[in-house]
Symmetry: C2
Subunit: 238 residues, 2 copies
Amino acid sequence: MGSPYGLELVENCLICKLRTENFFCGLPQGSLEAFEHIKFTAAYPAGAVLFVEGQAPRGIYMLCKGRIKLSTTSSDGKTLILKIVQPGEVLGLHATVSNTPYEITAETGQPCQLNFIKRDDFLRFLQTHGDACLKAAQHLSRDCQSAYQQIRSLGLSHSAPERLARLLLEWSNGESADEAGMRVKVALTHEEIAQIIGTSRETVTRTLADFRKKQIAVLKGSTLMIRNKPALERLVGA
Amino acid sequence: MGSPYGLELVENCLICKLRTENFFCGLPQGSLEAFEHIKFTAAYPAGAVLFVEGQAPRGIYMLCKGRIKLSTTSSDGKTLILKIVQPGEVLGLHATVSNTPYEITAETGQPCQLNFIKRDDFLRFLQTHGDACLKAAQHLSRDCQSAYQQIRSLGLSHSAPERLARLLLEWSNGESADEAGMRVKVALTHEEIAQIIGTSRETVTRTLADFRKKQIAVLKGSTLMIRNKPALERLVGA
DNA sequence: GGCAGAACGTGATATAAGTCACATAACGAT
DNA sequence: ATCGTTATGTGACTTATATCACGTTCTGCC
């Protein structure tokens, strides 16, 4: 077997090194074996579209490696990014569980390894494995939470700088700081940031320039340096 | 036993007439009996607060009768309404399942009958009753969906009239029309509508006045008359 | 190394809608 | 009926930010 798109595929979940407790596939032995039997492993290149909003759900995808962008688009072409999916997370869970069309679009941002499970197989799996079902519920509740967070950001904030500050803080969450500030890797363009906080690309550029001038935060290439976290916190009104 | 707050309490889920298939408690006999054993039934007056954002989850509430307003408030006092909960729905499910603080506030809008289940009891119940766990997952996925819908409304629409039109259409969804248009009952003030679509009270008043003038829709008291649905659909860009 | 295509930076302008400030209307209790 | 309270209606003003338009810089690719 080759290594498609520069990825070394891990075919067997039972011996997979990528897994951690937080992964959806972080299941006890018995359930994991059942999972292993119904899943299909595949690799995708950057820019691949896994599913599009409006499609009937075929099943769920579990992200082993890579990043995936979840978005939704209005009839006039404006796009809003809902979330950047990290390894260990599941895509298409709500659509599959409730058998309603995917309401979001999933697109790989870089080469990814994924496990796919067909809807029928997955539902049977949940029915027969209580621990997996509970895990699915936890997963869904995390999705809800991040959705609520975004609703708060979009609905309750008064300005674009406030929303941007909130996003930067969210990113910096859990990162360590040195004397110069905290460093976070972000591989997003201003355009994409704008689509996350629901504003225009120009506003993001201008606001970032403002943050830089005020020594609050600097986004250079794909590294974000947060120099003055308290200032950001004041901006979000915390 | 009396009838607190003008409600006739139904104590026994097994013979409850309020239940339907879609209710969370619409469970097969075996699971329903287990549910019956761990639940506490209670009545609340209008305006009661069941839980507040930030509190540690005590457990879940199932709404039997009445309406409950879910909202979140920013540090400067601005409020956003996430949803009006209908009978049969469960509150506090994400917080309970993932053991994170409630991120929203729940307040009764009228006298309500609720079932409460303690967190421990509920988790045990889910673990031992696969069908209930799946139902919980479906419930959570519905919550996600409505959250995504609200994100779309807040993030992708260009104007307040557009968001209001979207909300009116959502309300009118599934109602029947006569020659004068469709009639929908809504028990919300302009202020509350503003808090749903994330705008100011004045803007709602002005926009509704505009809709009235253009013969698109009229909100009089608690009855909404939709006179020109296609016009609303044009406004949301459908 | 040079070129195309993205991504970023920045000014000028228009406008939707927030905010303040009141007037009027509806409603509920005594 | 009368009052207090809450809801609705409307004008005037201000401002954040979307939008357009363009120049500049970066980045991958032949």
